[in-house]
Amino acid sequence: MPKTIVQEFTKGLWQELPPFRLVLGLCPVLGVTTTMENGLGMGIATTFVLFGSNFLVSMLRSIIPQKVRIACFIIIIASFVTIVELLMQAYAYPLYLKLGVFIPLIVVNCIVLGRAEAFAYKNKVFYSIADGLGIGIGFTLSLGALGAVRESLGNGSVTVWGDLSYNLLSAFPSFQPFSFMVQAPGAFICLGLMLCFINAIGD
């Protein structure tokens, strides 16, 4: 049964929520979620790339020859990633400094290439845009959630763009922040626990 555009969009928010349902693109998930702000920033950058690459791949799907499709996808994706990188440097420099090398690495993010190959190359333009946006926003929310958990346990407080902040220490004065959570091993453990939690809820 063909899905509607709305369904293509919403599937990225729960049914195929990356990285919990589609366990893809784990490198940035583990690497940048030291704070909620970084996670959200990374998610937004990836969403822009997903939107752009899904849109172009779908538009050009009748022109791109089957045999060199991956090369074409990579050119398109890499172009969008470079655009994001430049724009971020120009307008959100502090965020760019924190995300660093993970921005260029969006090129090799499996989610982006996976959506181009598995979805955009076979579907109409509007469906592809809906799919890209849905997956992208799902990815942003997941990274934000993971970042929020890690930041609050590791630092004892969560701050997003300087304005929105929440201090765990004021609510639980006896809580001791453990910096383990903002380091790499903490990322694995936190991701594992969240995966477990999401699987326990089920569909």
């Binding site: 030291t34 704070t35 050009l60 022109i63 791109i64 020859p65 045999k67 060199v68 090369a71 074409c72 050119i75 398109i76 890499a78 172009s79 470079t82 655009i83 430049l86 724009l87 440097q89 120009a90 307008y91 420099y93 502090p94 400094l97 660093g100 090398v101 590791g154 630092n155 910096s179 903002v182 380091q183």
Partner: protein, 197 residues
């Protein structure tokens, strides 16, 4: 055969268009990016080092190209004398390159200060090189011929606890900047005179 030609044409056209678009975006954002770097990264570091300067060091800058590296030098006018410059040195840290802005008084050949600009060190450990003044403050007043080595390696700089690699990298960056200064001093003196009153 037809297939072959199509592949070549599509790939060529796609790459050319992508190249063109990227060149345009790059050109369009270049000046904005430079301005952002000056405000967010170099600006605060420069102002903390060249404290009390009566000019605007961020505007009074010049560039020297050596090999394929280009370094920006920021000129500070302190106490009526245009004799202080600040520039960046780099060292290899735990999570990538660490940039350290170093200020040198050219009359006395002494460091007036150092501040970390860019880094990707672990929050809470290596990141303290930038967030806390303990490490950077130790460089103030050193002569440019003094060795900059952490105590663990037999030097005099106290490393940040739990972040020896970061501390070594910062020392390395300062050391490199000092070496570069010694090499380029005559050239720098020529350039700096253009800013003097």
């Amino acid at each position: 055969m037809n297939d072959m030609i199509k592949m070549v044409v599509v790939l060529t056209v796609l790459s050319s268009v992508a190249g063109g678009v990227l060149a345009a975006v790059n050109k369009g954002t270049a000046s904005q990016i430079e301005a952002q770097q000056l405000t967010f990264v170099k600006g605060p570091a420069i102002m903390s080092i060249l404290e009390g300067s009566t000019n605007n060091p961020i505007e009074d800058r010049f560039k020297i190209v050596e090999g394929d590296a280009e370094t920006s030098f920021f000129v500070g006018e302190i106490g009526g004398k245009t004799n202080t410059i600040a520039f960046e040195g780099f060292g290899k840290g735990f999570g990538g390159d660490i940039g350290v802005m170093v200020g040198i008084n050219m009359d006395e050949d002494k460091l007036v200060g150092a501040a970390v600009t860019v880094h990707s060190e672990t929050p809470g450990l290596g990141a303290n090189a930038k967030d806390k003044p303990d490490l950077a403050a130790q460089f103030k007043g050193l002569s440019i011929t003094d060795p900059v080595i952490v105590t663990k390696d037999g030097g005099k700089i106290n490393a940040i606890s739990g972040a020896t690699i970061t501390s070594r990298a910062v020392c390395d960056a300062v050391g490199k900047a000092m070496a570069a200064y010694q090499k380029m001093k005559p050239q720098l003196q020529q350039e700096i005179q253009k800013f003097g009153k």
